[in-house]
């Protein structure tokens, strides 16, 4: 990552961090309702992957989707309005946190069904390929999705048909409240796909430079139609599985340890250490992001609730 790229990625990570911290507060204040999964601690993956995508590349995500949507370019105000159930939300208040969609920016959608997005990404890749475009489909999913049947069904077809799809697994070691060791004897997701001949590898997902480099290494071949790839990013969610999760199933991370792991702090350390960024510019990233979030909160609050009858009228496309 050069200096410009680093700035862009850092800005994205801060935007996600500030957004999600604020969403956590809004959830506690009941301005955002329903089930909320935050990706605090995992922002580096969203930022480094989406930072190398084009608008016409398609991105899919799962239940922990805010970061991916924002990193792909979804406007923060509309994302927040959606979480607040407002008319100007990305989905007019129909979807909420787990169902963000922003077609305009190539964020084709999030799903609450674990692994349910993977075949969708394959289908988009197939369509892109059939249309002769060099755009790719990217799908983010957690380590828990790997044990779902449709994961294997998808990996086989992606490999067989050499689809232009990049599978990005955010392996945070937990699916809901149980560790990976309770789900599978195979620790690394790359070992699950290796028998299918999928290229890719495992990186430290909290080392944003490493994620960036890995994506840069994989993406050109995927784009060139040489077939799919899997990138496994080892990461850590700082919060519970969902907002309100008492989180008693994991060892607490000490704050010193967290400072070591936090992908934002790490990137800031690395980039100032090697001179890409000037220490003086760092506070600006956070401030800009937090200001933007506050403006988004005010704007979203201005947006009215949708007309209730919309719920029934959208059951079918008319």
């Amino acid at each position: 990552m050069d200096a410009e790229q680093t700035r862009a990625v850092l800005a994205t990570m801060w935007r996600i961090r500030a957004f999600e911290e604020r969403v956590g507060q809004l959830k506690r204040a009941d301005e955002v309702h329903g089930l909320i999964h935050l990706s605090i601690g995992q922002e580096g993956v969203a930022a480094a992957v989406c930072g190398q995508l084009r608008t016409d590349d398609a991105v899919y995500s799962g239940h922990r989707a805010h970061g991916h949507a924002l990193a792909k370019g979804a406007p923060m105000t509309r994302a927040l309005a959606e979480l607040m159930g407002r008319r100007d939300g990305l989905c007019r208040g129909m979807g909420g946190s787990m169902h963000l969609v922003d077609v305009e920016h190539g964020f084709l959608g999030a799903t609450g069904v674990v692994g349910g997005n993977i075949p969708l990404a394959l289908g988009t890749a197939l369509a892109l390929h059939a249309a002769g475009r060099d755009a790719v489909a990217v799908v983010f999913f957690g380590d828990g999705a790997v044990q779902a049947g449709l994961f294997a069904e998808s990996v086989n077809l992606a490999a067989l048909w050499r689809l232009p799809v990049l599978l990005v697994c955010e392996n945070n070691g937990f699916a809901e409240f149980s560790p990976r060791s309770a789900h599978t004897p195979v620790e690394r997701v790359r070992d699950v796909v290796a028998p299918y001949g999928l290229v890719g590898g495992t990186v430290d997902g909290n080392d944003v430079d490493a994620v960036w480099a890995a994506v840069a290494g994989l993406l050109p071949a995927v784009r060139a139609g040489e077939g799919p790839a899997l990138l496994e990013c080892l990461t850590h969610r700082l919060r519970g599985h969902y907002e309100g999760d008492p989180d008693r199933y994991r060892e607490a991370v000490s704050s010193a340890e967290w400072r070591e792991r936090d992908p934002i702090a790490r990137l800031q350390r690395a980039a100032t250490g090697d001179g890409r960024l000037d220490p003086d510019e760092l506070p600006g990233f956070e401030r800009t992001a937090r200001d933007q979030v506050e403006r988004a909160v005010l704007a979203a609050r201005e947006s009215p609730f949708p007309d209730a009858a919309l719920a029934a009228s959208l059951a079918y496309r008319r």
């Binding site: 779902a148 449709l150 294997a152 086989n156 599978t184 004897p185 195979v186 070992d191 028998p195």
Partner: protein, 355 residues
């Protein structure tokens, strides 16, 4: 081609002449049964309804697998299920009656060709939906693990089923829980009319399907399913491993189905028949099919046994004659057997609580 006399070693297994001859007898019985199912379409049009799937070509694999079991072990299979109960000792007359839809059938005419079962002999049943029996075998193995009696479960399925999510989910859990299950993937190179390499990334890459076992850190072996002793060896090792509590194994048994996927599919009134094999009808691969015929496991094993001095020509002839007679009896009694009462259709919707 390898010399059939030398490519199976008879000693060392402790099977003994009688068991070896018995294996052959079961193979012949399965073949005869399947031939009679097939002939029924021509000889008694309209008697078999719906869809049948034959195991001809897989006899060695079936017999070799079942021979590795002991009483108490169990198995599940697919719609292609006629061979297993024969190897387990089920009554072929009742099986044929089931396929003919008679009240005296194995399942009283409720199941038909695709859904034979014989729980008393360990055959728990089948699913007609591709891949969906794999978790059933896995669950039965979980039950065996809980019982702690060291029983083992075999789950039979085809190459196409290995593309089902159920395969992935089940093998992962079985490996994680070290379940006493052996997955027997009968790779006959076709999923109905689709060749394995058209649908499977491993096959397309020229790799055995047993490669998939690696995704679960499970042993995976590929065995010549045309050789009952090779299958017996592979299954014995896998079963022993499972019995010892060391977990599951994926055994890919390479077989060649000698009939078409199933009988023709047509609306009532149109006579059903067994069409030409897909290798020829869809791919024009006449020579491939002829080669498979030449490698037919039944005569191959007979030749090996004869060459090894285990089987005399006379005994081989009498085995065949006995099987032919048995299956003639099966056909005759099934044809004569009564149909179920129509209102019986509403029985067994729910199981009644045992008295």
């Amino acid at each position: 081609m390898t010399d059939p006399a030398t490519d199976t070693a008879f000693d060392g297994r402790g099977l003994g002449t009688e068991r070896l001859v018995e294996l052959y007898r079961q193979m012949v019985r399965i073949r005869e049964f399947e031939e009679r199912v097939k002939r029924t379409f021509a000889e008694h049009p309209g008697v078999i309804r719906g869809h049948t799937h034959l195991a001809d070509g897989a006899e060695a694999s079936i017999v070799g697998s079942v021979a590795a079991l002991r009483p108490g072990d169990q198995l599940t299979a697919t719609y292609r299920c006629h061979g297993y109960p024969i190897a387990l000792g089920s009554d072929t007359a009742a099986m044929m009656a089931e396929i003919y839809g008679r009240a005296t059938g194995t399942c009283g005419g409720y199941g038909g060709s695709m859904h034979l079962c014989d729980p008393e002999r360990g055959f728990l049943g089948t699913s007609g939906i591709v891949g969906q029996g794999i978790p059933h075998a896995t669950g039965a193995a979980w039950a065996a693990q809980i019982r702690g009696d060291r029983d083992v479960v075999l789950g039979f399925f085809g190459d196409g089923a290995s593309k089902q999510g159920a395969f992935h989910e089940s093998l992962n859990i079985a490996a994680l829980w070290k379940l006493p299950v052996v997955y027997v993937l009968e790779n006959n190179s076709f999923s109905a009319g689709v060749r394995t390499e058209q649908e499977d990334a491993n096959a397309a890459a020229g790799e055995p399907l047993a490669t998939k076992a690696r995704a679960y850190s499970m042993p995976g072996v590929t065995v010549d399913g045309g050789d009952p002793l090779a299958v017996y060896d592979a299954l014995s090792a896998a079963v022993a491993r499972a019995r010892a509590g060391e977990g599951p194994t994926l055994v890919e048994s390479r077989v060649y189905r000698l009939s078409a996927h199933g009988n023709s599919i047509a609306p009532p009134g149109v006579p059903l028949h067994y069409p030409e094999h897909e290798a020829i009808s869809r791919f024009g691969a006449v020579e491939e099919y002829e080669a498979a015929k030449r490698g037919d496991p039944v005569p191959r094993f007979r030749a090996a046994l004869v060459a090894g001095g285990v089987l005399s020509d006379a005994l081989a002839r009498s085995i065949l004659a006995d099987a032919a007679e048995e299956m003639q009896h099966a056909v005759d009694t099934a044809l004569a057997a009564p149909f179920p009462e129509p209102a019986a259709a509403l029985e067994h919707v729910y199981a009644e609580a045992p008295a």
